[in-house]
């Protein structure tokens, strides 16, 4: 009877101190849905109680159903035979449990059969599922596909597709990548054309499609003949069928339970979602942002799993007459993991909260009457949270996924030789975590997005609200360090801006991203520190370390050292293949 919600003191801490009044008000309005749906909440407290129970339910399924099957799923993997993909047995059983428990329409509105849960709860659920089986996350955690249909498709399309997602009858895939269009989605070539009856059809190849064998595909395709950039791309819904042929699945390093498909579209029928030409610029961007928060939660969950196993091992393992946890280097590794896991969660939950506010106010802004006295305020809030979500989302993915890599690697180090063996789960966590910094936008692309946000001062209001708070005693000392970190971040951004050299800015992107994450987390920890003695010590450890690293990064940035830009070819020297 394991429960990944109740056994996690940090998730409990985060949940208990959440103030989601604004989010719940946006999700539930005046709680009118209770009249129509017996499972809708009647008040804020009732909504929070419901959220807690749903997470408890997810935690139980993760502990009792999903986690015990994960090793077997990894070994068996998804299978491909003659155009047909079959999930591993454990994957099928886990999906049956999740859909049987009504959990596949987590965030969708009740009128389509969903639970109408906020993103912050979905993120908590994805983290738990990923801790149990990272590969399963790519099915459970891809509900953004349905969410995209909900946001942009017509009412008729929504009614046709969304209820089937909610019951678990169908799963989806986001079909974007092609052999020559990876990070650069503007280069997508898959052709969409209208046949003589005006029906849209698609022709071409998509590659590296996570769960591409899913039933409902959201396909990015070139609908405007002769165009070359993102403005010629539209989004289509395409159902699985004989003209959507899965040619192969990839043999991968990790997430073996998740089939990565190559899809051949052979004049396959599709239907347009929303408007033409807005496929990439509007819909995919929205889809990706949702998915990025999901992948951040995946990195977070894998890190949690690895940290726990490493800690348990370090307590039991005796060498040189004592438990290895009591050896300085090992305890340092473990503390670094623990701080990484808890800070990742703080950033992730804050991001999800802002995303909820952003979606809520955007939705309100679309429906509010011009004459409504609140109209202006709603529009301003929508713009503010949109700006903040646009930077916090890549920050979460950047931080949590890189943290996941570091933690899974360190966990193997704690176990030593045993960690390298398949007898333990650590090597699986390590392999599974490896994809998280690549798909849904690489770490490098997240840094580009973070930089864009920093240059547009996207966090100005967020920082200002927190810097203004009065703090006392030791927390005030830590607060002073965080303010310094924030100042150095601003100075660093100003420096590259002044330099005005795009390549140099790009080169410094990760350093500035680190600094941004550390400053934001620093403020979050100051708030948490006043609520718990454990968080106070976590805050002290994290902020002191981050302050030192911030100085190092700042020094590097303002040094103007651009040797890599100037000399990379000389540095790589004799190894460069002849052109």
């Amino acid at each position: 009877m394991a429960n990944f919600f109740t056994d996690n003191a940090d998730i409990q801490f985060q949940f208990n101190r959440m103030d989601l009044r604004e989010v719940v008000a946006l999700k539930e309005g005046d709680f009118a849905e209770g009249r129509q749906y017996p499972y809708a909440p009647a008040s804020y407290d009732d909504a929070m109680d419901g959220y807690r129970r749903i997470l408890d339910l997810v935690g139980g399924i993760c502990g009792d159903v999903i986690a015990p099957r994960a090793a077997e799923v990894d070994l068996e993997g998804a299978q491909y035979h003659d155009g047909v993909v079959t999930y591993a047995k454990g994957t099928q059983e886990a999906m049956k449990a999740l859909s049987g428990a009504d959990l596949m329409g987590f965030t969708l509105p009740r009128r389509y059969g969903g639970l109408n849960m906020p993103t912050i709860m979905y993120v908590a659920a994805i983290e738990m599922v990923s801790r149990a089986d990272a590969a399963l996350m790519t099915i459970f955690g891809l509900q953004d596909i349905a969410e995209t249909i909900n946001s942009f498709a017509s009412e008729e399309q929504k009614q046709r597709y969304l209820p089937r997602f909610c019951t678990g009858e169908v799963t989806g895939a986001m079909v974007l990548t092609e052999p020559d269009a990876g990070s650069d989605l503007q280069a997508v070539r898959l052709k969409a054309y209208q046949d003589e009856k005006g029906v849209w059809r698609m022709n071409g190849v998509k590659r590296f499609i996570t769960n591409g064998c899913g039933d409902v595909l959201l396909v990015l395709a070139r609908s405007e003949e002769g165009t070359k950039d993102g403005r010629g791309l539209s989004m289509f819904i395409c159902e699985k069928g004989p003209k959507v042929y899965i040619r192969r699945i990839e043999d991968k390093l990790g997430i073996h339970g998740s089939p990565t498909c190559e899809i051949h579209f052979r004049d396959a029928e599709g239907e347009l979602v929303g408007q033409r030409r807005r496929g990439l610029t509007r819909y995919v961007m929205s889809l990706m942002n949702g998915a990025r928060v999901g992948i951040a939660a995946q990195g977070q969950g894998i890190a949690e799993a690895a940290y726990r196993d490493a800690l348990a091992y370090a307590v039991d393992r005796v060498q040189f007459g004592k438990a290895i946890i009591d050896m300085a280097q090992v305890s340092d590794l473990l503390v670094d993991m623990k701080v990484g896991v808890e800070t990742g969660r703080s950033l992730l939950y804050e991001t999800a909260r802002v995303v909820d506010l952003c979606q809520g106010y955007e939705h309100l802004a679309e429906t509010v009457e011009r004459s409504d006295p609140r109209a202006r305020e709603i529009k301003e809030k929508a713009a503010l949270y949109r700006k903040q979500a646009a930077i916090l989302t890549p920050m979460s993915k950047y931080y949590c996924c890189e943290m996941g890599l570091r933690v899974t690697s360190a966990a193997i180090q704690v176990l030593g030789g045993s960690g390298y063996m398949r007898d333990y789960n650590l090597e699986r966590y390590y392999r599974d975590a490896r994809i998280t910094t690549i798909y849904e936008g690489t770490t490098e692309l997240q840094a580009v997005a973070i930089l864009a946000g920093l240059q547009g001062e996207a966090l100005a209001e967020w920082f200002a609200a927190r810097a203004a708070q009065k703090r006392e005693g030791e927390i005030a000392l830590l607060a002073a360090l965080v303010q310094q970190m924030q100042q150095r971040l601003a100075d660093g951004v100003a420096f590259v801006k002044k330099e005005g050299h795009p390549d140099y800015t790009d080169l410094m992107g990760k350093r500035l991203s680190d600094m941004a994450c550390w400053a934001v987390i620093g403020y979050l920890l100051l708030e948490e520190a006043s609520a718990s003695p454990h968080k106070r010590i976590i805050a002290e450890k994290f902020i002191r370390d981050a302050a030192i690293r911030t100085v190092a990064h700042y020094t590097a940035i303002t040094s103007g050292n651009d040797i890599v830009l100037r000399e990379y070819k000389t540095l790589l020297g004799p190894d460069l293949p002849k052109a």
């Binding site: 749903i54 339910l57 428990a101 009504d102």
Partner: protein, 308 residues
């Protein structure tokens, strides 16, 4: 053809996750120290009933006998899909052994009236007797099959069952109505459904409300007066009734139970002595599976004063 199932279930202390002081000084279970859970094999019984309903249609009614806190088990049953739940509760039911329990359950089942199957777990993890199912069947003059692994088919008033036996399985057939007891390997109980969980989480009974409010008031450091209790309980009770959130509760009179046959009074079982036994022996002794082996074993048990 649809079938109506009654599931008999018990809330038990979680003996698999023992924490703190699980045993009292007198060697009995300290129920207060252990979390109360749905008896695991009763969950298998519920799953079997839900599966029968999925396959053939019909209904699933869950009955439990226990204190008001057993409402939690009934809510859980609702979350997982039960159509109707009944709490059999009365102070006069307390301290019942298996005989008194099966009598009380049989009274409740008679009151329910129409049913095709009664399904229970093989045994409860607190008593481990495996007697309540069979005794209930006897009291209701029903056919019974124990150790059920699978219901293969139900057709024309007959049921075909895969039954677990030593070293294998046997297939048996019986006529409805029938009582089945189910093993823990029979199936994997489905998880609660989120929507039903949200819908039924506030369902309760008057005694549970009273107990909860009494605890809250006691937390202030003194015994609440009757007037204080009434003042606190009544609005909650009224609201629960108004919202249609009341679980069905039957007491001894509601099921027409003979007061001499229930609870401690109706329980001939007397605990003579409880010993804390620590297993030390490591030797295994094989007894041949024939008459001679069996006779030898019985002889030995009698000589050792374990039997007779």
């Amino acid at each position: 053809m649809p079938y109506d199932c009654i599931v008999i279930a018990k809330q038990v202390p979680d003996t698999k996750n023992v924490t703190g002081k699980a045993m009292k000084d007198d060697g009995t279970v300290n129920r207060a120290a252990l979390p109360a859970i749905f008896n695991p094999e009763d969950l298998n019984a519920l799953e079997m009933a839900l599966d029968i309903r999925d396959r053939f249609g019909g209904s699933v009614t869950v009955v439990t006998m226990g204190p008001p806190a057993a409402c939690e088990l009934l809510r859980d049953a609702l979350y997982r899909g039960a159509d109707r739940v009944i709490l059999l509760t009365d102070r006069r039911f307390a301290a019942a052994d298996t005989l008194a329990t099966s009598y009380a359950l049989s009274c409740a089942i008679r009151k329910i009236g129409k049913f095709d199957l009664i399904i229970g777990g093989r045994q409860a993890i607190d008593g481990d007797t495996a007697q309540v199912g069979p005794q209930t069947a006897e009291k209701l003059h029903l056919n019974q099959v124990t150790y059920v692994e699978k219901v293969q088919d139900i057709r024309d008033g007959r049921i075909e069952i895969l039954r677990s036996i030593d070293g294998g399985y046997e297939v048996v057939r019986g006529r409805l109505p029938i009582l089945l007891t189910v093993t823990g390997t029979a199936n994997e109980p489905r998880p609660p459904r989120a929507k039903r969980l949200l819908q039924f989480r506030h369902h309760t009974c008057p005694a549970e409300i009273t107990n909860r409010i009494r605890k809250q008031l006691e937390a202030r450091g003194r015994e609440p007066s009757e007037a204080e209790m009434a003042e606190a309980v009544n609005p909650v009770l009224t609201e629960a009734v108004k919202q249609d959130r009341m679980l069905t509760v039957w007491d001894a009179d509601a099921v027409g139970a003979d007061h001499d046959k229930i609870g401690g009074r109706g329980s001939p079982t007397k605990v003579k002595k409880i010993e804390s036994v620590v297993f030390k022996g490591r030797d295994l002794k094989w007894i041949e599976a024939n008459d001679e082996g069996a006779k030898g074993l019985v002889r030995e048990l009698v000589t050792e004063h374990i039997l007779g």
